[in-house]
Symmetry: C2
């Protein structure tokens, strides 16, 4: 204790003082001291000192929370239409109109096709594409998101509902409720735990699986099974049953779509906007329009072909067949299945249905959120994305969808890109998309009969083939090679296991990386000399000291300090946090050094971490904040040691 | 690209250069630059520069690994007896003899009692207490560990084997094999992920559960059930069936043990060793000896009592009954159960047995390791503890035990303390303990018949009551309050759920803390002025940029930089790592700033992190390492911007 009172101007030994410690020494020489600042997030861009007492902090927190929850700002945040509608201009209206109709032209063929991925009749795809759009206008926070069936959500729906439309509709309700609850509890941050590599691996695997299932449709081969390998082995087994006309039509459609895509990417005239003539601009606009609506054009042409063949005595390729005309009835989602509705041939109660869907009820909301947020981020120009609000908007949309027999929906990345490129200005664009879908349901369903199945398959294939993110591998290799492990891990896990298990294993694998990071800090060991000429050992850990790493650090410190019997300084500049386990280990460490009579100092320890360590009142725990203090400290300690030896000897 | 070549002396734009970058500027002004050093663990205490090429690193790593695996050093590490036996002195022999016999006196009553916790006849406890001791002499790396049945391992054995000795013995084999495999794969580090609070919570819960089960024995009340709440409710239900004599004997025994413990803690004479007379020393030694062997004394006295009562026509309290005389037979562990051996009344195959033990096969090894390492750490005086070697030693011990019908064993913390206090010098102490156990088995088994059950229960109670770590709560509160959450969480989870699920939930809860740590860095925002007088915004994140945190950081940076339209500097002094996701976000960030025409600089970025970011070749990515460079950089950027505007205007 004597040594402590000696040195009280160079370190603080009481826990309570530490929490409001100011940096010792010249405050205008900040470079050397930067690490010891309290890291407090300040709203006004200036540094503030944290209030001393914990109670005050808690009170302030509660007051702040209560205030924000009831504030007008919160209302605006939760119903984003209040922000933009009052400022809605005619320019906004024009942009939204064009974008909404363009997206609508891709949504209709898309919805028919994605219903096929989900394994339900085509109409259910359209049923899921309008009411959620209306609601998104009120609750959606991101202008570029066109809600509706997406390839990924449809595949997950198929894996959970196994092609029963009743289950798919119930799934909408359940997923919507989960999303809404997650939103209300503010769990939007969960999406942060899906890293880029995991997300790429997952998307690529999903694309490959969808591609596989559509190739099966194009070949017209009967192939059962849901995993990637099963389907391919079935396709090869039944390859001799290939239906020639379906195959020809499908491959032709794919070729046409890809050619249009390439051609529409060509720009005539000079590259600068300013230098293009009026003619150039018109041609470019027409090319872009053809490119964007290529799916709609293909469906109309192929539908015409189907119509001609059908009237000439039967089409040689499969058509999608009867689509019930008119809007869906507004009714409760099915909460039970009768014996002939169920695939097992037995009656299924609500709990049976829920049980059969398994983890899909939680995984679909998470993946839908992931996909939606990906769109928001892609076009946000760096503005923050409110994942929690998106959860709420998706949740409300899905719940409403389940009352009109819609599939679970999300924001589809490909349509998001079209929406953005068409110049969307606000979420209002969704209203035109919804109107188009309603028009289609009311007036055009009789004509959907003639659309060939393989043309829809071709649309899906030429979309998902670009979702296989092969080109992300190279930058990943150049930036951080180890990130390929979770990326490829997720990819192969998703191909070989059920999708939800695949992505969860990928995320789990990635978490292990974080835990390893926390457990094995890098440590630099240097032999340095003080200004006064004394040699000492400088040991610098590069991150926080928490339980998985402290024993490792202790072992290294002990090893090096035993090898070179010099005073040891632990440079804590980078130690931003510590826990109880770290405090016990530091206590042991100071004890060991004290027993050996070797000096141990802590340099530049953050006050909040200092408080943690001093909670256990370790022996001989000395912290200093300026390099020149070390000489003085060494001198005093040596003198004290000499005195101690003297006392013992007398 | 032009801006890059302009500034090439102040930052490095090629990824390959970065990995061997040296700090720019005056190397003798290190304080401001400390964060940008490459953190390389150097063995000789001096800084070395990492080899440039990754291939070379890999080659060197493989060479090093191959070398260590075959080296003499490794042999000494894996068979630690080779280290200490050649230097074994007569002082060592004396210390080990005293300690070994003292521990032996506590092992014998302990083994009989712990067999009760495991729900198997008393003899199996002794069978598990000698062969593992012999083997530990060769393979154990820690002098203070006395292997044998422990309270915690016995409780876990009970939960997995449900009182079948055959299953308990098979469990020894399986746990031993798992430990050996984990050891050979070097998985000892897993124990790092059990934090202090989780370990305390677990130990306390286990102690309470054991206490509960022993109170049941002392009251002589029949109570079935394995969780804490079940047993207590059963005890209260059947409280009127309390056997008076068992209760009286039990409570008396507990009182006697606690009194001896307190009395033996008293020291006569002056506190300093040097000032004590010979008489003082002898009295203190005797008191200590009585204290240490109090369990043995109690068992002998109570056994005598039982003998007297039994011969006088039947003891009024339960005795442990027949213990088969002699050493166990050396035979294979039971790999199947016949119908009358099985508790279910049906034959059980090997796979049935394994299935019924469930996760115990993995959890017991982990918990045993945790307990053993706790002893090593407690008495290591800061020397590194080799968890992997302990796994190997425990594994070999358990496998051998299963051939002599022993229970799964570990190092018991309470006996470890006795071992250390008795002056043990090497693992050789175990040989005397093993010899005592063998003597007991060969000569004293007939006398064990008369030991009252409630005296054994009293021994356990007065041991485990001190394992309830109530006193750890206060320092935890003073150091890091949030650590109480995993601590108490583990405690209650272990009381209410099966133990293995309880501790796994506690560890999982603790992991969430680490993940949260990684996801939400603290960020300081300051408005500073350059030496040249220009204002800028300094944003300092305090830890690495990896996937869960980067979007959060990006949002904050964007928010603050939009609010104050100043040049922004991100101080990367504390950013020790980054991944692919971070690189993509940084790329987006630089793009956003570039579009807005706002300046963005990275200060003091570690070369290895710089390499990661530059893998995606971000636009306008400028790093500098010296404060005074900022003015020059700002000047150049402004000039370039002006030029650009000029070009556009002409």
């Amino acid at each position: 204790m004597k040594s402590k009172s000696d040195l009280d101007h160079s370190y603080i030994n009481q826990a309570i003082k530490c929490s409001s410690i100011s940096i010792i020494g010249d405050p205008d020489a900040p470079a050397a001291l930067k690490g010891s600042n309290e890291f407090i997030m300040t709203e006004n861009g200036r540094k503030t000192i944290a209030p001393n007492s914990r109670v005050e902090i808690a009170k302030a927190w509660i007051r702040r929370k209560a205030k924000t929850a009831c504030s007008e700002k919160m209302l605006h945040r939760r119903i984003p239409i209040l922000n933009w509608l009052p400022k809605y201009s005619s320019d906004d209206a024009a942009g939204d109109l064009v974008a909404g109709i363009t997206v609508g032209l891709t949504v209709i063929p898309g919805a028919l096709a994605y219903a096929g991925i989900a394994g339900v009749p085509a109409a259910y795809g359209l049923y899921g594409s309008f009411i959620c759009c209306f609601l998104y206008i009120f609750f959606g926070s991101c202008k570029d998101v066109p809600v509706g069936p997406s390839a990924i959500a449809s595949l997950l729906t198929f894996q959970a509902a196994r092609g029963s439309w009743q289950k798919a509709v119930l799934l909408s309700l359940l997923c919507g409720s989960v999303e809404l609850l997650m939103g209300l509890f503010g769990l939007g941050f969960l999406v942060d735990f899906v890293s880029g590599p995991v997300s790429s691996g997952f998307t690529s695997a999903v694309s490959l699986i969808i591609l596989t299932s559509q190739i099966k449709d194009i070949l017209g081969v009967p192939a059962k099974g849901s995993t990637f390998l099963q389907i391919w082995s079935e396709i090869f087994k039944n390859i001799n049953e290939t239906r020639a006309w379906d195959t020809v039509l499908g491959i032709t459609c794919i070729a046409v779509l890809l050619i249009i895509k390439i051609v529409s990417g060509i720009k005539v005239g000079p590259p600068e906007d300013e230098l293009q003539t009026r003619k150039h601009k018109i041609i470019n606009k027409i090319l872009w329009l053809i490119g964007t609506s290529r799916n709609a054009i293909l469906v109309i042409v192929c539908g015409g072909l189907g119509f001609v063949f059908h009237n000439a005595g039967g089409a040689p390729f499969k058509l999608i067949g009867e689509v019930p005309p008119g809007l869906p009835t507004f009714q409760l989602p099915p909460f039970s299945l009768s014996a002939n509705e169920s695939s097992t041939g037995k009656e299924e109660s609500f709990s049976d249905m829920v049980y059969s869907m398994g983890s899909g009820i939680v995984v679909i909301p998470l993946i839908s959120l992931m996909e939606t947020i990906a769109i928001c981020k892609a076009f946000s120009n760096g503005k923050p994305v409110d994942a929690t609000q998106e959860l709420i908007a998706l949740g409300i949309g899905n719940i409403a969808n389940s009352f009109v027999q819609g599939l679970p929906v999300a924001g589809a990345l490909s349509r998001g890109a079209i929406n953005n490129a068409s110049g969307v200005r606000t979420p209002m664009g969704n209203i035109y998309t919804a109107a188009l879908v309603i028009l289609a349901l009311v007036f055009f369903t009789p004509y959907f009969f003639f659309i060939p199945k393989s043309s829809l398959a071709a649309i899906i294939i030429s979309a998902v083939v670009f979702m296989i993110e092969v080109k992300v591998v190279k930058p990943m290799w150049r930036t951080k090679k180890s990130d390929l492990i979770p990326g490829l891990g997720t990819f192969f896990a998703c191909l070989m296991l059920p999708l939800e298990i695949g992505i969860l294993s990928g995320i789990g694998l990635n978490m292990i990386f974080i835990l390893y990071h926390a457990a094995r800090p890098n440590i630099t060991v240097e032999t340095l000399t003080t200004p006064g000429g004394a040699e000492y050992l400088m040991i610098t850990p590069d991150r926080c000291l928490i339980f998985p790493s402290v024993d490792y650090v202790r072992n290294l410190v002990t090893k090096h300090s035993l090898r070179q019997n010099l005073p040891v300084v632990i440079d804590c500049t980078h130690v931003y946090g510590a826990d109880f386990t770290a405090a016990t280990v530091i206590e042991n460490l100071t004890q060991d050094f004290s027993k050996r009579g070797q000096h141990l100092f802590f340099y530049n320890l953050k006050p909040s971490v200092c408080t943690v360590f001093e909670g256990l009142s370790p022996v001989d725990f000395t912290v200093y904040y300026q390099e020149q203090q070390l000489d003085e400290l060494l001198h005093r300690k040596d003198k004290k040691l000499a005195q101690l030896v003297e006392i013992r000897c007398t």
